[in-house]
Symmetry: none
Subunit: 282 residues, 2 copies
């Protein structure tokens, strides 16, 4: 094994942010910072924390004061993840629609591949102490991540969960660093995947325009009742969330939606011979 | 993935004991019990604890009272490990005489193999909050075990270290259980990783009908020139190929394609008020 390059690992891990939503106990924020620092992560985003700042945060984050100074406070989860490509929501419960679900270890491996091979920004989102993340918040994630536990006893508290996730992130980063240093070739094949992508991937912010466009189109062609959407929007988010579109695919699909809309509105009509091709009503 | 058999995992993990030497803070004992119980471990041995019993133990071990009742108190480390086959001493520092040193993950894998294949009893020994284990105590171990951390910052406290070790023990036990169980069953591999899903995934054969349908639709709405398709079919295959659609998503998308086609052919028209909604050409 090569000697560990802490600086290189920290640089990689700086692209993974921990997001805590509506945290009540300052001690949990302090413990999170300590867990992060120990494992080499540095970016904590707090979404509408209940109590901030608070001396307990500093007390429990002993020695991680540089991370306290870098904390980012935002009002909504959307703000916390808008420039992220890959978002994981932590969830212990199974939901109405199961989301693509990864255990902590493969989730960390996927994150580190996304960072090192595609320069992506990754967010791991943790919910409230008492009730976790809402279904709406979980639907903003590409994947859900869970830590395997003894389900007969219960779940980890948020500080313990952050500890395990940060540990797995560091382990995955170390594994990748070893693979990179051991292989002279530039091509990396990990878990049977080789991901060299020609186009930049879309961010969460891009997808905030994609889903409304898709839904509007589906409503206009009466595939979806806008007053009774049922599970359709959730299914579409789950589908395109796990695909991670690149920019070209994104524009391609939105182009198709627009074409369908234009046809529906009559602002686009088929070219020349179309009416002879089919028995149109016109 | 097979449903997790908590009872079987707990039976395996009951052969791994956590040993805490000269612990000062009762809160750390409570946290250790909680971490153990969450991961399915049950046996805690305390070597000459400084403060025991104490209400903080019960408070922090909330819900793990059965483990409190099973705690064993002994005077010396030798007593704690006398019936063990495999003993790991936790150590952050390098010692005068280098010992066989394993990271937490391979240590857990080795432990689980020892338990399941050779019916061994395993101990993981944790030292004092302030100065860990003595050289004499470390010399009683077969191996030393360490948790990879950002060495520039410092080490985990004992409760965090027990959390990570117990987590790795459970992961290793689960891996072994999966290897042993029938792998062909309902295990799905997506992105080279195992994932839990509610719907069966489509086969390659299904997709052989999907792409022609999509291309026909795109040709009919003149988004793609059938005589000059360029890279579009390839891009669509790459896009939907990496998503691995499930059956419901597959039918959902093909339903959308059919609706668009029907609109194009005039075999479907928008309901009642549509012509007043938009200035249709008809």
């Amino acid at each position: 094994m090569n000697p560990i390059d802490n600086a290189a690992l920290s640089a990689t891990l700086s692209h993974v942010r921990i997001v805590m939503v509506n945290t009540t106990l300052p001690a949990n924020i302090g413990s999170a910072l300590r867990a992060m620092k120990t494992m080499g992560l540095s970016k904590l985003v707090l979404v509408a924390p209940k109590t901030y700042p608070h001396p307990d945060i500093d007390a429990l984050a002993a020695g991680a004061t540089d991370l306290i100074e870098q904390i980012e406070i935002v009002e909504t989860l959307e703000q916390a993840i808008q420039d992220c490509h890959l978002v994981f929501g932590t969830s212990a419960r199974s939901r109405t629609i199961p989301w693509p679900l990864l255990d902590a270890r493969p989730a960390a491996q996927k994150s580190m591949q996304a960072v090192t091979q595609q320069n992506q920004e990754v967010a791991i989102v943790f919910g409230r102490e008492d009730r976790g993340l809402t279904n709406e918040e979980l639907a903003l994630a590409n994947y859900h991540v869970t830590i395997p536990v003894n389900t007969e006893y219960g779940v980890l508290n948020v500080a313990q969960a952050i500890q395990v996730i940060c540990y797995e992130m560091r382990m995955a980063a170390m594994e990748l660093a070893e693979v990179q240093s051991d292989q002279s070739a530039t091509m990396q094949v990990i878990d049977g995947q080789s991901m060299h992508w020609d186009e930049p991937l879309v961010t969460h912010q891009d997808m905030d325009k994609f889903y409304p466009h898709l839904e509007t189109m589906l409503a206009e062609i009466e595939f979806m009742d806008p007053n009774n959407k049922r599970l359709l929007p959730l299914r579409l988010r789950r589908l395109f969330g796990r695909i991670q579109l690149d920019k070209m695919e994104y524009h391609l699909l939105r182009g198709i939606f627009s074409r369908v809309q234009a046809m529906r509105h009559g602002t686009w009509t088929p070219s020349g011979k179309s009416t002879t091709d089919h028995e149109d009503q016109s």
